[in-house]
């Protein structure tokens, strides 16, 4: 790790001034990618997309009684980006209780940005009608419980579902049918194709006692081992976490609704109330740019304020 920390103070300050705030997180599995973001920013009209997550529309408890407003703020930030992203992804928990009105509101708000939105379901999105309420709105053309793939910007995107058939071991689960589909889906791709995987629950084990991981995630990642650049984008834990393992960069996004405690720092992973004025710093969006290096994609997390 220390050998990777090549960013110097001057570069760090430059990144901060470009971002306009000291609260910007520039992460892509580590600081070197933060530097890439800074360099890429000046140069690129390159391909980029935006990730939002865990909007929990319908949640109205003290941790954030205004989840529609904070989603609106996040989407305004997306609209305000200097370079228009190619599309938006939502990594699940669109709604709080899978209610049609909650889905509709989010769909309309995302649609108003003029960007196509690709989604994967969170456990809060499949509480009604065995997930059909989600699938009918967001699952067009998807397989099984809502998994799919597509190509864009020279990359291969894979949307996985790891919130159905949760097992007693407490972790997310992909299941055999989806794993077989995944193996088949990437079989004919060249190893130089950058891969982006989206799923709600982290595919890597962040914190097992709270179920923050996917039981058969390692098997899925096994199918992606031969690829030179794999970026795994998750939500669920309402905070930024990242790690890099070989050619795989793991990244979890902030929520647009409410923060959750860092692993093990509270009795449970419930919504965390923060002092007035601080909420916006704990919520936000992530922007992902393709840069032509052998490193994984560059990810820039931006808080709402």
């Amino acid at each position: 790790m220390p050998s990777e920390m090549t960013i110097d103070r001057r570069t760090a300050l430059r990144c901060m001034s470009w971002a306009g705030t000291a609260m910007v997180w520039t992460v892509a599995g580590g600081i070197p990618r933060a530097r890439l973001v800074g360099c890429a920013e000046a140069a690129t009209k390159s391909f980029s997309f935006v990730q939002i997550s865990d909007s929990h529309l319908g949640f109205d408890k003290p941790a954030n009684p205004h989840t529609t407003d904070t989603l609106q703020q996040a989407l305004a930030q997306v609209r305000g980006l200097p370079d228009r992203p190619a599309f938006m992804i939502h990594t699940g928990d669109i709604s709080h209780l899978s209610k049609p009105a909650q889905f509709d509101t989010c769909q309309q708000m995302m649609g108003a940005t003029g960007l196509a939105a690709y989604t994967v379901p969170g456990e809060h999105d499949i509480l009604e009608e065995d997930g059909k309420s989600y699938l009918n709105r967001f699952g067009k053309g998807a397989k099984g419980d809502g998994w799919y793939s597509f190509d864009a910007g020279g990359m291969h995107f894979i949307g996985l579902v790891n919130v159905v058939n949760l097992k007693g071991n407490g972790l997310g689960d992909l299941g055999q049918e989806q794993l077989e589909w995944l193996e088949d889906d990437v079989a004919d791709l060249s190893a130089s194709t950058p891969i982006v995987v989206m799923a709600h629950v982290p595919l890597w084990t962040v914190y097992e006692p709270w179920g923050w991981g996917t039981a058969d995630g390692a098997q899925a990642l096994g199918y992606l081992k031969r690829f030179g650049s794999v970026t795994v984008l998750n939500g669920h834990i309402h905070q930024v976490m990242q790690k890099i393992e070989g050619h795989v960069a793991f990244h979890t996004a902030r929520s647009t609704a409410f923060p959750q405690p860092a692993p093990g720092t509270a009795k449970g992973p419930g919504p965390m109330a923060v002092p007035a004025g601080e909420l916006g710093r704990r919520l936000g969006i992530a922007r992902v740019s393709l840069v032509s290096t052998t490193a994984p994609l560059a990810i820039l997390d931006t808080p709402l304020i």
């Binding site: 949640f59 408890k61 209780l97 949760l166 179920g211 509270a266 449970g268 419930g270 919504p271 007035a276």
Partner: protein, 122 residues
């Protein structure tokens, strides 16, 4: 705490008052429910992603009521009984009558790391 109180500004007082009010409500709900259900009807509270009490020992024929006191929905899933509750939002509840003796492990169907056990002893 005393020191904190001495420098407390208006905002903090409001927050503390709200917190106190919230705490009172949270405590009252199960008490009221227990009274309504009668003293013999056991209640399992769901708070901070934890079932409590667990394990819970009851007599055959007793009805267990689960009450969700979290800001997040939870559900009850007991595989051996093929028992599955609706998602309970904050302060919603679910009840099930246990007739047969035995040990019944259950989880939250939404957060399966949450585990509980009901022991029915004749």
């Amino acid at each position: 705490m005393t020191e904190m109180m001495s420098v407390a500004d208006h905002g903090r007082r409001v927050l503390l008052r709200r917190f106190a009010a919230g705490a009172t409500v949270a405590v009252l709900v199960p008490v009221l429910r227990a009274r309504r259900a009668g003293a013999t009807e056991p209640t399992v509270s769901i708070d901070n992603f934890t079932f409590s009490p667990t394990p819970l020992t009851i007599a055959p024929g007793a009805t267990v009521t689960w009450v969700n006191q979290d800001d997040i929905p939870h559900s009850i899933y007991c595989q051996s009984l093929n028992l599955r509750s609706h998602p309970m939002d904050t302060s919603e509840s679910f009840a099930h009558r246990f007739d047969q003796p035995g040990t019944f492990d259950y989880i939250c169907g939404i957060h399966p790391h949450m585990r509980g056990r009901i022991v029915v002893q004749g």
